[in-house]
Symmetry: C2
Subunit: 274 residues, 2 copies
């Protein structure tokens, strides 16, 4: 066991359709077996959308003036998100890891006040070219990660599997962006690696032309990279910036749809940012 | 703070409709504020049923040859249970406790291998007077509670909020009966009190005649009491037996539909078994 020798890996598994959770779990189990400390953070967008559609409350996606897309989270949408993501997906990932011999422990940012966020309440959006305000939103901007709680779990041999909900100062449940959450966790833990596994091979200069994949990127070029990033990739680039600013050593944006996606990313396939 | 002086209280909040979660949380917060160590276990039957109906997979309730009713849990039903109970209900209880200042930590028996159970796989049922076997069932009989994990949470000031799923030796997720789970937890912790809060005032000699409420019962009379118990009350009586056999000091079956249901139970209203 060389448990902490090489530092901690934080792995974010995308909520997007196409990401192979099973391959990620198998690959993670191998690393953990070899003594590596791993924290898994998952999305769940596709699951929450499917459940919302099934029960007649489909999600509403909105775009901010600066071009970020997010789920408008009224109270009912928050409950659906909790069911699909804290309940369905988190339990399935914990179960899968446990069948592989990993001592996984599922939690969300609410549990033990692990992740505190500031509730936005009202959000500015652009719809049909017009600016609007939406109220009663249950999303939050992360302010604090209880790093000692995570370290306690890791030191005791547990692998935390974290669902992207946080808690406000008043104790309210909030939906948060999983990429940004993984970034804040990686920063707090001064992780050796933050892996953002997604449904594309990495950041491309000219999306979706995969021949323009950027394999290596310096932190100082991230501002420019934000310009290339399309849609959800913007949050990953922003997350990479936050993670590195906060003390993570390296961020890799890589393909989560393939076999051995973690080893693939760690061996340099994807976009490595440092 | 006289945190452990009076022993631990394990409180099971019923999954049945009518139980006032909000009143239970308020009452629990008051006790915890006063220095009491509390473990909450919740059901979720009504929530799982509602979600199953909403998404077109309603539950199938079956009766065992000895008269116990349970939910037949095929894989889809297990996933629905995880969403509604691990996700929806557990998150709402944790949120409510946190808004009341309690450092609640939600978990299920899968997390960290907290509760191990033996998967039944096939179950015997009686349907229209005929005996049958049902296969591919994902329910389990609890075999082990990791009491040191629970004690670690309690000692660190967290209030565990536990959802009734367990994990098999092979790592599979299993549905378990919440009353029996609460009983096994109370036994493992040698709890001072196990409170089984439900939608009736306690055990009645002649259900549903509330004038026949049994207010005090000795452990040696529980076998006889099992005869009076109707429907789900049978599992509570069985749970009481298991809790006391395992080392819990006292079990109270009491009304969960009223204001201050915990204080009410502790002050002797309900059926106290010792």
């Amino acid at each position: 066991m060389n448990s902490n020798q090489d530092g901690i890996i934080v792995i974010k598994i995308g909520g997007a359709a196409g990401v192979d959770y099973s391959a990620v779990c198998t690959d993670a189990a191998r690393l953990i077996e070899a003594g590596k400390q791993v924290v898994l953070v998952h999305g769940g967008s596709a699951d929450a959308t499917a459940l919302g559609e099934d029960i007649g409350h489909p999600p509403r996606f909105v775009t901010s003036p600066s071009g970020f897309t997010s789920r408008y989270t009224d109270r009912r949408t928050l409950d659906i998100f909790a069911m699909a993501v804290n309940g369905g997906l988190n339990t399935r990932i914990v179960e899968q890891l446990r069948t592989l011999g990993v001592n996984a422990f599922g939690m969300s940012g609410l549990d033990g006040g692990l992740i505190t966020a500031k509730r936005k309440g009202s959000i500015r959006i652009v719809e049909n070219g017009k600016r609007k305000m939406l109220h009663d939103d249950y999303t939050g901007k992360i302010q604090h990660v209880d790093v000692s709680l995570l370290q306690t779990f890791l030191a005791a041999g547990y692998t935390p599997v974290i669902s992207p909900m946080a808690v406000s100062q008043d104790g309210e449940a909030l939906n948060t962006d999983a990429d940004r959450m993984a970034a804040m966790i990686a920063a707090a833990l001064k992780a050796q690696n933050l892996l953002l596994l997604t449904a594309v091979p990495g950041l491309m200069r000219s999306f979706p032309d995969e021949s323009t994949l950027i394999s290596d990127l310096s932190q100082r070029d991230l501002k420019v990279a934000l310009e290339y990033a399309e849609g959800r990739m913007k949050k990953k680039v922003l997350g990479a910036q936050e993670a590195l600013d906060g003390g993570a050593q390296q961020v890799i944006i890589a393909d989560g749809r393939i076999e051995a996606p973690i080893s693939n990313a760690l061996s340099g396939n994807g976009t490595t940012i440092h």
